[in-house]
Symmetry: C2
Subunit: 264 residues, 2 copies
């Protein structure tokens, strides 16, 4: 099932997506998939609604370096030795930076040349969870969406934290929707820059898998419905320029598309 | 004015605190101080309500090292060279860890000896804000509360991020309420461990002040109503033991009190 958040005639709500392509329809839902809710039966054509970020997370987690090749190429980019993580230490991103499918990524005027995309699987938590074993870990997962962990490498290298390198407004495109049924082991991630494939990898080929992260995290902290966990990326991005369009497709979920714009 | 969040007869709401000490009363408010709201006129004795964390932030910012002496003693604690920040690079904490005044801080069984308190001023944002100059910065501030940035130093030193060192459940006591009228330059922070004063400093004697942080942050990111910014601490904490009670008083705001308990 595909869950969206959308705006229609000035009102924001969740909805269920029925069908694909030009015939797709949105069924409005009262309430939230993370709490009490009721499908209304009211349907409208998908193109008539404006997509919103599919969930505003109470806490926004990110795995960071979680694929082998990306860890090496990132080290090259910032001129340090490769630093492959030895355990699943999770990091954080910030909700201010989230934008939906099709909204523009605005590159600040004073950003350096090295503004990069990172195509990522996003895990959406559906249930309050603590002390889950790896075997139990996926029981708290509601579904999956796609994220673009836009990164400014000069700031990432120079600042004491990743606050503006990763969390500048519009630097976290997420969407287009949440897919609750995903064959994770069959999924592949493809990134296209202006229509040409630049990165392609097996989505689940991570250093530390979703089960490992959720189990390690939930030893110390309570996961809450709507929390999100970005799983990291593979490969290397060229430097984004004004007008570049990035599409991240994860087979079984869909495609997240955003254009980069240099701040005027 | 003092704003609280509280639970009474199973319902959670915001309220305004009238008076002090044993005669204090709570006036229930419909809605939120960060949006539309209406004081109901209904009053109840302060001791009859259960205090909650005064605000659940959309984004939880933290200044980190922001006082000179603490930056040096922290470096000593983890065995590194002092690293005085050169600019206002903000960091993040996580909402899962927040607990109110009087709730226990639970030290996990596998934590090391060096579990420390950090008494901090907390800035609560009241208005959406971007591109504020230092002169304009305080115009988006709703009020102030108190935070205890509980920290496990072994994890802080060993892990790739501060996820469990700083964000383990219950590691972020905050409260007791939000004070909207504070003479910041007159304020002093005192920390008491089991009734004895261990740390005392001028609250506003920071490396980078509130105006500097808000102006720097809002160049890149939008601040939202309810966002919080923890301003860092001064001095050094002894190692917390099971049963230790920590009180953090900031003159003009109040006192945040929490007891530490080792996980059974």
């Amino acid at each position: 099932m595909r869950w969206i958040r959308f705006e229609h005639e000035g009102r924001q709500s969740y909805g269920i997506l029925h069908g694909e392509g030009g015939d797709a329809e949105v069924e409005a839902v009262e309430g939230s998939p993370f709490g009490e809710h009721r499908a209304t039966g009211t349907r409208m054509p998908f193109p008539a609604v404006k997509l919103l970020v599919p969930v505003i997370p109470p806490t926004f987690y990110a795995a960071g370096l979680n694929y082998v090749e990306h860890a090496s190429t990132y080290a090259e980019t910032v001129g340090s030795a490769p630093n492959i993580p030895q355990k699943a230490d999770v990091g954080y991103r910030a909700a201010n930076a989230l934008i939906p499918h099709e909204a523009p990524v605005i590159i600040p005027r004073d950003a350096g040349e090295q503004v990069h995309y990172e195509g990522e699987l996003v895990v959406v938590i559906g249930k309050e969870a603590k002390h889950l074993s790896e075997e139990e870990a996926l029981s708290c997962v509601f579904g999956y969406t796609i994220g673009n962990d836009v990164s400014e490498r000069d700031w990432q290298n120079e600042d004491r934290t990743m606050w503006r390198a990763k969390n500048t407004d519009t630097f976290k495109p997420m969407g287009p929707w949440i897919e609750t049924d995903l064959d994770l082991d069959a999924a592949r991630t493809s990134v296209r820059l202006n229509g040409e494939t630049t990165v392609e990898f097996k989505t689940n080929d991570m250093l530390f898998g979703i089960e490992t992260f959720i189990s390690a995290m939930s030893r110390y902290l309570t996961l809450h419905p709507g929390d999100i966990l970005w799983m990291g990326t593979e490969g290397k991005s060229p430097n984004m320029k004004d007008g570049d369009e990035v599409e991240i497709e994860i087979s079984g979920i869909g495609t997240l598309r955003n254009r980069f714009q240099k701040e005027a």
